[in-house]
């Protein structure tokens, strides 16, 4: 079941990575594979247990019998010495090559997965308690100290040979009163006819105390102490050992060795790491639910099938089944070989199908590499039999999810990310190890009354606490993590989909590749194309044509800060039409394209601080060949050639179909309002002789009326700087001109600006922007019209801007001597690069949420009120029903369980035994009463005396602070 967690998370990644049908099919197959493996490895809870220890092996290698329940390789380690490994599952006997000496109550078991599909070899170490301590004695050959030589006795025979060490004597003497019968020397007695006893040598001390030498080498000292104690025993003396805190008598050789082993050398510390714990059932349920949800998410759009993938997945499935059921003989010898074979098979097949040579590095990064990691995690999930593997999988999947989220641009990713993060955090917190409860029970004794057989079942409150903690962790991470800024510069994504090569070299093309401007100079709108409907995406812009633009999402932009996504600029204006420069610029075929610097194309010399802004455009609807991007693009990663125009804008040699991706790196000037105002009158800064090519941006149409010039003079003469003049002009336009998409068109031949300012006073963005541009040009300030898109709506989590066809826009760009071209817009706010704070995901989310709540406050209040009222009413009804159903004794049992924290497998008496001594008597009596209520058939539940007794006992046994509350809930 633990594999399900990892598998579910991994499958979630598959949905994250991309929405293409091939990966979806892959994920479906992997779902099947995972379910299959989950069924097969239903009991992969790794459990190692020592079932027997061969006791009595004085020297040499004692054998330890170990039982494991999954196919793993087990080796035992005692004091740093690892035994020969043995293979599970089942019961295996392992000879332990132990240390020179020591007493061990635990061994460290190292398990390694040998199952066929685990090409990640996981080694895991856990301490395993021994049923009885393992004693390693010093080698027998070292016990050579101070044994006395055998002595002759009166009958002439050497008696020492027939006696064991420890009964060694050197003489006999006649019986004296008081002698023990045990000391009778029977051979001599029978031979001589008089009772004879063994005599101890007069030189033997009656009592020998051996003290360990702390300064000596522990192993050598242990051998010395053992030898001296054994020597004392051998001569019949009472052998005592003194470790400084007290003396202890030893009675035999084994006791001497044990004492020396325990006191002379520090017993090797066995690490108390986590034990193999089964996951709590609540998380198994949660993971199963997550798996179901993910399967639904994945299966829903999986309608298109692809037979190579089907074949590959079926083959993988069959291989997995065969390998699991029938393990070849060579597999035990080298599990690595199998793992490599399976891995290579899967990776090769996946790479063949998924990789596309046209996509280049980006295709590899998006496709096979991520797939390899995902498949690796799924395969690892087959063997994830313990918590550590699950944690490993979780952390890895978080990395992959982060990678996927940097590529995702659709809004569904936000919801999925939220679900994933909460589930991820909760699973991670739930996979903490639990204390070894069972060991405590074992140490306390078996079956004795009063011993609490505590089970490790988590309470509902604790599970809720884990969820709350997980949410808190997620909120904390969201608040501290900044908005994602997209992939690194190493992998500027680029992708082309359904391109049409432009028919006219360097010209603006419609999405179908045909020129956007007809031979007569009029706009040729492509039928049925949302992106082609805007009049600004052509060689000329007619200010009297208004577009009727739909709300279709045209493209998405991943960028850290908003900006105007500019398509092209117009330099000359004839009173009605804006025209782009005739020069097509340079055709560049390198990848990526480095747009040359400021000097060549003029008017872009910048002395203010700059900042790089990377924007990745994900095209959703077929678009023209105009390359969008914030001003000023310096680098472009796109498929195909690019025309770099004199004004710094870019046109591709082919159009961008739906699904295309390109990345623009722009160098923005970090301007602020103060910086712009400080540059004074721009007209004075325009250099004479036109070294920067600015003169064409000062051209004023002949049809410009005098009252237009007068208005401009009036607005700009009063302003201390050009910037303030522009702000004044914008304010004037906002005040006197109404933005109206249905404004009346100017009469034929009339000047569009004059008509707007003094005629209709109604217009749309092209006309308003034209008016500002013309007014600026009359003041000698270089200005031009720019066409493109406003930033669009930003998604909170992914930081992606969603741009619609109706976001198409035209605005004014004004040249400033220090900061270059700067966008101004009388109808919308222009984001200034130097004043933008990207913020964090959490702040964005909070802003959106608070905005939504304030917009729908009455609805929120109503819903919350109804929900709260309903919950309260339901809780009340439930409580009443439950109280009635449970009855008095049931409620008393409930209160008892709460007060004494009695788990489901703890009996009442055992729970009461854990009460503090002053209250234990009452608790035990209450437990007996509750037991009687259940088990005694003659118990009278309605007896008021018994009820009163139970109430008083509960009051007496509960902690005083809680007694009142307990009694209140009882009645």
């Amino acid at each position: 079941m633990l594999g399900v967690v990892t598998a579910a998370v991994t499958l979630f990644l598959l949905a994250q990575l991309t929405a293409a049908p091939l990966p979806l099919l892959m994920s479906v197959s992997l779902t099947a594979l995972t379910v299959f493996s989950t069924v097969v490895t239903a009991a992969t809870h790794l459990r190692v247990r020592v079932t027997a220890v061969a006791v009595g092996a004085v020297a040499g290698a004692p054998a330890v019998t170990v039982t494991v329940n999954v196919p793993v390789r087990v080796s035992l380690m005692v004091a740093g010495r690892r035994s020969v490994p043995a293979f599970g599952p089942g019961r295996v006997t392992i000879p332990v090559d132990g240390p020179p000496h020591g007493v061990f109550s635990e061994v460290s078991a190292t398990t390694t997965t040998t199952a066929p599909l685990s090409f990640l070899r996981f080694t895991r170490r856990m301490p395993v308690a021994l049923p009885e301590p393992l004693v390693f004695l010093p080698r027998r050959g070292t016990l050579t100290a101070s044994l006395l030589p055998p002595a002759d006795v009166s009958d002439g025979g050497a008696v020492s040979r027939s006696w064991e060490t420890g009964e060694h004597v050197d003489g006999v003497r006649p019986w004296r009163d008081g002698d023990s019968m045990r000391h009778v020397h029977w051979p001599t007695t029978l031979r001589s006819g008089t009772r004879t006893v063994r005599d101890r040598p007069a030189t033997a001390p009656a009592r020998v105390v051996v003290v360990p030498d702390r300064s000596a080498d522990p192993a050598a000292d242990a051998r010395r102490v053992t030898a001296e104690l054994c020597g004392a025993l051998a001569v019949g003396a009472a052998a005592f050992a003194d470790d400084g805190t007290g003396t202890e008598q030893v009675f035999d050789e084994r006791g001497a060795a044990r004492w020396a082993a325990e006191h002379c050398a520090p017993v090797a510390a066995v690490e108390s790491a986590e034990r193999a714990d089964p996951p709590p059932p609540v998380w198994t349920m949660a993971s199963a639910a997550l798996l179901c949800a993910m399967s639904v998410l994945i299966l829903r759009p999986a309608v298109e099938l692809s037979w190579p993938f089907t074949l590959m997945c079926v083959a993988a499935l069959a291989a997995a089944a065969v390998l699991r059921v029938r393990r070849p003989r060579w597999m035990d010898a080298s599990a690595t070989k199998t793992s490599l074979a399976v891995t290579a098979f899967l990776v090769f097949a996946g790479a063949i199908v998924t990789s596309d040579l046209d996509r280049g590095l980006d295709g590899v990064l998006r496709g096979p590499l991520a797939w390899v990691l995902v498949m690796l995690m799924v395969l690892h999930a087959f063997e994830a039999g313990d918590r550590r593997s699950v944690r490993f999988g979780l952390v890895t999947t978080l990395v992959v999810v982060g990678y996927a989220m940097s590529l995702r641009t659709d809004p569904a990713g936000t919801v999925q990310m939220c679900v994933f993060c909460v589930a991820w955090a909760c699973t991670l917190m739930a996979s903490r190890p639990r204390p070894a409860v069972r060991r405590a029970v074992r140490a306390a004794g078996v079956g004795r009354p009063g011993v609490s057989l505590v089970s490790g079942v988590r309470s509902r409150a604790r599970a809720g606490g884990v969820v709350v903690a997980g949410l808190a962790v997620i909120v904390g991470v969201l608040v501290s993590v900044p908005q994602p800024s997209g992939p690194s510069q190493l992998s500027l994504p680029r992708l082309t989909s359904l391109p049409s090569v432009t028919a006219q070299r360097g010209g603006v093309a419609r999405p179908d590749g045909q020129p956007a401007t007809g031979s007569d100079g009029t706009l040729r709108v492509a039928e049925g194309s949302a992106a082609g409907a805007y009049s600004g995406f052509a060689e000329q812009l007619d200010t009297s044509v208004r577009g009727d633009l739909p709300d279709t999402v045209l493209f998405r932009v991943r960028a850290t800060s908003p900006d105007f996504w500019r398509a092209q600029t117009f330099s000359t204006f004839d009173g009605r039409f804006w025209h782009v420069d005739d020069a097509a610029g340079l055709e560049v075929l390198s990848d990526p394209v480095y747009v040359s610097g400021s000097g060549l194309y003029g008017a872009t010399a910048v002395s203010a601080p700059t900042q790089r802004l990377q924007q990745t455009f994900f095209i959703a609807e077929p678009m023209s060949n105009l390359v969008l991007g914030a001003h000023r693009p310096t680098r472009l990663a796109a498929v195909g050639g690019v025309w770099v125009r004199p004004d710094g804008t870019l046109r591709s040699t082919s159009t961008f179909g739906a699904g295309s991706v390109y990345t623009v790196m722009s160098t923005r000037t970090l301007v602020t309002a103060e910086m712009l105002a400080a540059q004074g009158d721009v007209a004075l800064a325009v250099p004479a002789g036109d070294p920067l090519g600015l003169d064409r941006y000062l051209q004023v149409p002949e049809s410009t009326s005098q009252r237009t010039r007068d208005l401009a003079d009036q607005l700009f003469d009063a302003a201390p700087s050009t910037y303030d003049g522009i702000r004044a002009a914008e304010a004037w336009l906002r005040e006197n001109v109404t933005y109206d998409l249905h404004a009346p068109l100017p009469a034929g031949g009339a000047d569009a600006v004059d008509d707007l300012l003094f005629g209709s006073r109604r217009g749309f963005c092209e006309q308003i922007a034209s008016a500002l541009a013309v007014m600026l040009r009359t003041q000698g300030v270089p200005a031009r019209l720019a066409a493109g898109f406003i930033p669009g709506e930003r998604q909170a989590l992914s930081g992606v801007f969603e741009v619609r066809a109706s976001d198409a826009h035209a605005w004014v760009e004004v040249w400033f001597p220090e900061s270059g071209w700067q966008a101004f817009d009388p109808t919308a706010d222009v984001p200034l690069a130097g004043e933008f704070d990207p913020g964090t995901i959490g702040s964005q989310l909070a802003d959106q949420l608070s905005g939504w709540v304030s917009a729908n406050s009455s609805l929120v209040v109503a819903v919350l009120g109804v929900a709260g009222f309903g919950a309260a009413a339901a809780g009340l009804v439930r409580r009443v029903v439950r109280r009635r159903r449970r009855g008095f004794w049931g409620r008393a049992q409930d209160r008892f369980c709460v007060v004494f924290d009695a788990g489901p497998s703890v009996s009442n008496t055992a729970a009461a035994g854990s009460a503090p001594p002053e209250r234990r008597g009452a608790a035990l009596e209450l437990a007996g009463l509750l037991d009687a209520a259940v088990f005694d058939p003659s118990f009278d539940e309605t007896d008021p005396v018994l009820r009163e007794r139970a109430v008083s006992l509960l009051a007496a046994s509960a902690p005083p602070a809680r007694a009142a509350g307990v009694l209140r809930r009882l009645r």
């Binding site: 009991a43 459990r47 247990r49 079932t51 027997a52 061969a54 039982t67 329940n69 049923p131 409860v437 069972r438 029970v441 074992r442 078996v446 079956g447 004795r448 009354p449 057989l453 505590v454 089970s455 449970r886 004794w889 049931g890 008393a892 049992q893 369980c897 489901p904 497998s905 703890v906 009996s907 009442n908 008496t909 055992a910 007996g928 509750l930 037991d931 009687a932 209520a933 259940v934 088990f935 005694d936 058939p937 003659s938």
Partner: protein, 333 residues
């Protein structure tokens, strides 16, 4: 090899006879009193071995039999003799050897005078029988006791002879690692309601024995604290203790959980549950109750189930049962 303790032999007296069951109000202290007196008498002689003494007492009062897995020299014989003496009944001791025959245990037909074959009862005809090192004798002799343990009777040459009542068999087995042992088949193991594997005696207990405060020499000081008739009466009291469906269901859950554990090679039989319930009845009666609670079951379950799981040594079976007890939810209100 076979030695019958004839010191207190009164076989004819211990035939069970119907005893009127007194009212329940007076029954309760009866079982408690008999139990406490027996345990006190035995404990005054034997040092330590609390679990063993307790389980032997409960088995005696519930009509079960005890298997002890222990190294020699730890006082098993003394316990059996002390029980027999405190009981006021007979005791005998059978030493298991490979050449021990069934007739050596049960008794046999021998010529008596002129051509008459008379039944000479074997050592099994005693209130407390200690079968030492049972797994050293052949399986044939081991199975000679099956009828005795199950039906409290012995059949020789077609004649069925009733065993004295109460009849308690205390068998010991050496650890299976020793040479020359026949492992007891699980069918035979199943006949023992209780198996105990006492821990090694502690230093303090050894001192008690060495200085003479406990030990064999005190056996003569044990006076009968009850008589077989009274023990039979307590037997019938124990049989009358109520077992609710909840407790029975708990035992069934315990057996099912044990059967599902990976380390259990032999799933416990229904007879295991019967023995558990019966011993829990005795524990309840001894505690002065007329009904069995979960605590009675958890008290006796390790000893009644540990030897039936195919686990060796028996102490590891006890651990398995403890694990199961920690996992199975208890019945509650």
């Amino acid at each position: 090899m076979v030695r019958v303790n004839q010191r207190t032999s009164h076989l004819s007296l211990v035939r069970a006879r119907p005893v009127p069951i007194a009212s329940r109000k007076r029954d309760r202290p009866h079982a408690t009193r008999v139990h406490d007196a027996l345990v006190a008498a035995v404990s005054s002689v034997v040092a330590g071995n609390d679990d063993l003494i307790e389980m032997v007492a409960l088995s005696l009062l519930s009509g079960g039999h005890v298997l002890v897995e222990e190294a020699p020299g730890s006082g098993k014989t003394l316990i059996a003799q002390a029980f027999a003496q405190a009981l006021g009944g007979t005791s005998s001791r059978i030493q298991g050897t490979p050449d021990l025959l069934p007739s050596d245990v049960t008794g046999q037909m021998l010529p008596d005078g002129d051509d008459m074959l008379m039944f000479h009862p074997g050592p099994v005809f005693a209130n407390v029988v200690l079968f030492d090192e049972m797994n050293r004798c052949s399986p044939r002799t081991q199975s000679a006791l099956l009828e005795a343990t199950e039906e409290a009777s012995v059949t020789v040459d077609g004649d069925t002879h009733e065993l004295p009542d109460p009849f308690l068999l205390v068998a010991t087995q050496n650890p299976l690692t020793e040479a020359g042992t026949f492992p007891l088949p699980s069918a035979t193991l199943d006949r023992f309601s209780v198996a105990v594997s006492p821990p090694a005696s502690t230093r303090a207990e050894q001192i008690e024995v060495f200085v003479g405060r406990r030990g064999r020499h005190l056996l003569d000081t044990v006076a009968p604290v009850t008589d077989p008739v009274e023990v039979s009466l307590v037997n019938s009291i124990v049989d009358g203790v109520d077992v609710s469906d909840d407790v029975a269901g708990y035992v069934a859950d315990l057996l099912a959980h044990l059967a599902g554990m990976g380390e259990v090679t032999v799933p416990p039989s229904t007879r295991a549950g019967v023995a558990t319930v019966q011993l829990a009845r005795a524990a309840a009666a001894v505690a002065g109750r007329q009904y069995v609670t979960v605590d009675d079951v958890t008290r006796v379950a390790p000893f009644t189930l540990g030897h039936r799981l195919g686990a060796a040594p028996i102490s590891s079976g006890h651990t398995l049962v403890a694990d199961a007890l920690a996992a199975v939810p208890v019945p509650r209100r």
